[in-house]
Symmetry: C2
Subunit: 342 residues, 2 copies
């Protein structure tokens, strides 16, 4: 391994997306894989009408952990971020694997709390952590893999949206953005807002029931979770489906509006660009299936909110109340990594 610090040639000069392109360019393609490059999970038909879906994601201590996160919530988050991803593909979790890298001076009791947090989140999502590996590393590493099963015809990809489809989400946006402002920039918030914002950050939930309900009725043409932030997630759907969106509104948590007023911030910007690590589903729904979709999500205890529609132009625009159109850019946090830039 080179220890030369030639930054002009180092990976630090590339964003995560460019790094993905770079690595992929050296990998031969498996033509059986159904989701394609640019999706963040893989899907392979395994016969008997079944599709195996897999997603892997690493939570790294130095870059992915927010101040005040307990070991238990770290464990939870590592599970939720993996489950959410296969849920967004319409896959029911089959099992989870975790490789853990633990620093030598990490407290035994904290490792136990991580394991308990992981287990609780797995059980909440109807699955188990069945295997993995553990070893020493300088940094806390929770490398998770979620395996899931989708039925043929029910796989939901980032691609597939059609002009005229409705754009919907399973919840409002922006609470994690508030959490980040409070935790990382020390912005103050009334205690009820702070409580909600920190819960969004410390206790994320995957929209598994909603995803499976939508998959079952084959209502979805394209799907993603909002873990990259609202703007980036919409751009992924746009790019992969070759379409655009007109948003009729940015669905904001009420706390986001209040917090924005308090600090003279733009609430839409908070939800679009400064959040992420939240796990709402963003889905494109066939218009003829809209009522069924709303019903299906309601039956499992969720809500499906209409937030816009699919357009032919590849732009993503927000129609403001005064009738203007604002273009939504492909910007957002790449997870937590920018905050920690040295």
């Amino acid at each position: 391994l080179s220890t030369k610090r030639d930054f002009s040639q180092s990976v630090g000069h590339l964003g995560e997306d460019s790094l993905r392109v770079l690595v992929s360019s050296h990998l031969d393609k498996d033509t059986r894989e159904m989701l394609g490059y640019g999706d963040d999970a893989i899907a392979i038909e395994i016969g008997d009408g079944k599709i195996l879906v897999a997603h892997t994601n690493v939570l790294v201590g130095s870059t992915d952990i927010l101040p005040g996160m307990t070991p238990s919530s770290i464990g939870r988050k590592a599970v939720v971020m993996n489950v959410s991803d296969i849920a967004a593909k319409g896959a029911k979790p089959l099992t989870l694997l975790f490789s853990l890298g633990i620093p030598k001076d990490y407290l035994i009791s904290h490792l136990e709390e991580i394991a308990s947090g992981m287990n609780a989140a797995a059980r909440e999502n109807g699955t188990y952590i069945t295997g993995g590996d553990i070893g020493e590393s300088n940094n806390l590493i929770l490398a998770g893999t979620a395996l899931g099963m989708a039925r043929k015809g029910e796989l939901m990809a980032r691609s597939g949206a059609k002009v005229g489809d409705l754009l919907a989400s399973t919840g409002p946006f922006g609470l994690t953005s508030l959490g980040f402002k409070i935790l990382l920039e020390n912005l103050e918030a009334p205690s009820d807002i702070e409580k909600k914002a920190l819960e969004a950050v410390y206790k994320p939930k995957a929209r598994l029931k909603e995803a499976l309900a939508l998959a079952e009725i084959k209502a979805v043409t394209a799907s993603i979770d909002s873990s990259d932030g609202l703007a980036k997630s919409l751009h992924w759907l746009s790019r992969m489906s070759g379409i655009g969106f007109e948003l009729t509104n940015i669905l904001l948590s009420p706390e986001v509006t209040r917090f924005a007023q308090l600090h003279k911030l733009d609430p839409n910007r908070l939800a679009l660009y400064e959040g992420g690590e939240e796990y709402e589903l963003i889905v494109c729904i066939k218009p003829e299936k809209w009522n069924d979709a709303v019903e299906a999500v309601k039956r499992v205890g969720g809500v499906l909110y209409e937030i816009g529609r699919v357009t032919e132009s590849r732009k993503i625009v927000l129609r403001t109340r005064d009738g203007r159109q604002e273009e939504i850019e492909d910007l957002g946090w790449e997870h937590f990594r920018q905050w920690k830039a040295e």
Copy 2:
């Protein structure tokens, strides 16, 4: 995350095996999982006579990389260690996923070489790297997951060996041990020995063809790869199967014998306790299938060596030439980690 350095309560005081037990004690068990606790892969029946096998393993820069390893051989090793494990279960690789954590100052060209090395190793084993993730971390992290398919009745576990079975391996032991002595303790070796030893370390190969050939004829009652070292691997089989072994000989690479003479070392100790990170299969074979097993491995270009037999006593003993019995202890390197203890 606690930054307290209370070593009396830190994970550094526990070995990897104890850490695994600790973590597992906090995880609910999935009764569908077929390999059981103590195996290092998981297997779940998915219908249609198929069993999904999965294994995950992290290669960490600070602990798993040997001096002189090129980025390409790091990539290769990360793939081989994952493929070897599911091969040892009798599973054909379905696909590979990798989450990469890359330090900011890592050279772009080296990342490209890692990707190429990973791809080459995947293709050698008839599979592809179809997905994954990439992000920044202080340490190089290659978190791999291998997914494979076994047919019902052909799954090979660590448990299942029966008294009277023959113990066999797909190759001799000890070359990586020489590699470690040369690279980490600066022991000298004639150039032909050095070349072989370093090749074993830098260019490991998984015994996939051999494993699948043995699985197909249902000759194997218990199986493991020798990645934990010969002694520890035998103890895993013994513990999980509730049996012991009598070894008729320690199958040594000729280079190991010569190197041991040169440095006045015990060649058996080198092979048993000081190696590891080599990927031979160690299998228990039904006596009535022995000839078929030898033939099947031969047909795919390999060799199956008889090295002992399964006994009722749970001890693992080596019968020396002068008729004495030496007990083989449950010792070995836990990967590379001990060398790097600060």
